[in-house]
Symmetry: C2
Amino acid sequence: MSTSEIEKPAKNDKSADSHERSVWVGFDLGGTKMLAAVYDAEFQLLGKKRKPTKGHEGSEAGIERVHGLIAKALEDADVSVDQIIGIGIGVPGPLDLVDGIVLDTPNLGWKDVPIRQQLEDKFGCPAVLMNDVDAGVYGETRFGAARGARCTVGLFPGTGIGGGCVIDGEIFRGSRLSCFEVGHMRVVPDGPRCGCGRRGCLEAVASRLSISAQAAAAAYRGQAPFLKKAEGTDLSEIRSAALAASIKGGDKVVEDIVRAAARHLGTAAGSLVNLLNPDVILLGGGLVEALPELYSEVVIGAAQKRAMACYRDTFEVKVASLGDYASVQGAAAWAQHTLEKTKG
Amino acid sequence: MSTSEIEKPAKNDKSADSHERSVWVGFDLGGTKMLAAVYDAEFQLLGKKRKPTKGHEGSEAGIERVHGLIAKALEDADVSVDQIIGIGIGVPGPLDLVDGIVLDTPNLGWKDVPIRQQLEDKFGCPAVLMNDVDAGVYGETRFGAARGARCTVGLFPGTGIGGGCVIDGEIFRGSRLSCFEVGHMRVVPDGPRCGCGRRGCLEAVASRLSISAQAAAAAYRGQAPFLKKAEGTDLSEIRSAALAASIKGGDKVVEDIVRAAARHLGTAAGSLVNLLNPDVILLGGGLVEALPELYSEVVIGAAQKRAMACYRDTFEVKVASLGDYASVQGAAAWAQHTLEKTKG
């Protein structure tokens, strides 16, 4: 560190009254909760705020909640609106990335919301819309478990299966829309029905939801006594922590169900290794983070089996390390990356 | 056109004795034949030469043949070695693109050949190594059927299934090796055995070779009388033209076999639409080019069925239009693109 850096005022000096633009805002708009965070130019966290999304109240009320939460996070960071350089926001797709529009989010029930423009009008600074999983994969590649990877392929099994790819510091994107819908690659012809209406999607055999459904059936049949006692057979209660506890509690059948799902995920990861030659396969989401060893072991095994010989030793499997902050920090940093590239 | 351009000497003026560097060389090193071509700065063809590869003679003899063929193509174009700006060469993978090494080509039987350095030493100009299918997809995106596409995904069923992706003028590449091995994505768990040793690869159910094998069996069973009369049951004789003739001659079973393979290809194309959101799915290879309407129709149908609703009208299916020249012109133009970017 140079001596001149020591003379700078501390980054977190909340009494600083300079109103020059110096902070980035990251926002994660999830199906159940939303998180806003404020970062300094080195992406150190200055303040944050979280609340429920309440998507069912409609997009107009929702946008008000987004605006209000950003204001609260700014307050928490003790910075003013005119200090924001830019805002990055991650939203579940599909999105029109060219015009910054939320086309349709089944989880929120919103349609055709010009969210980028709305943020820019409200806060008087540029905003960048992106897919929430892209934000997470970008955040982990820049600050977390995949730091230093040249090409990261992220797979996040949850209610669905999110995916994203970061290559040479850029998020892979196709012609216009957000993409990398790994969950809707067909992996089993005439396989189980998926939420999207088709059959045999990866999501239908490897999402946390498909695992929970099979575990609930096992509990009902009396094959998962620990789970049945702890949570009953209501699918809504059988989430990541309950599944991890059931396995730790000795429910062998639940472990088999998770292993089979992880094998499907690993085989798909191996297909993606043949397709995209990433150096890191990044796994994330609640269940993976609750069972990191089991997931890593099964996914590595299945991916190595599927990968062609020449790709076999070219990739590592890593588990996401930033938790909920991957997406907000990723969105803020992507806003910086995008806006500085546009200027340059 | 400005008047000053009219005063320039004609591009093809073979009597020009200027030795300034002004031409690009493209080379396609295939399993059975090799093609060298010389282009001017606008990628107009100045000269070309073709001969058999004879990969079995080993890589040393092979490199001599490559050098010799380039010399012949320069002669055909009436330009001298010191006029070459750069050379682009497309080779079947796997390749180490960072160091310009042919790691292993089953079709040629070559291993660890530093072909880029060998070309640079021989011709005293920079050379660029790339995958042959990447070269073809790049060529079609820059000069052919996919011209103007922002994101092209190319699928070329032949003995195997080649694939490539060009996005925003760049070839998609992973961390180090050539990739986009669409043929080795798993599409049928426990499906037919593939040449790579695994089961259920796309290549095992949708390559021209898998079609030929099934058609030969149909001929043997007497279900493809036209084919049997024309070619017998020797797989080596049942190539693209024979399959197209068999269908035109009324062999319904052969048409069904091709349609089923094309449906697998189309479903995989649809999965890739969900993954990568290309605006063009480019089909190529001998069989596709012999049966363009049948392939386009079946692939569009299956891809639309697999694509998620929001992607359904975002892509077109096109058939390659440059034939053998896609790869050589693509390799020459990619050399230009790469070398000019390095300079910039």
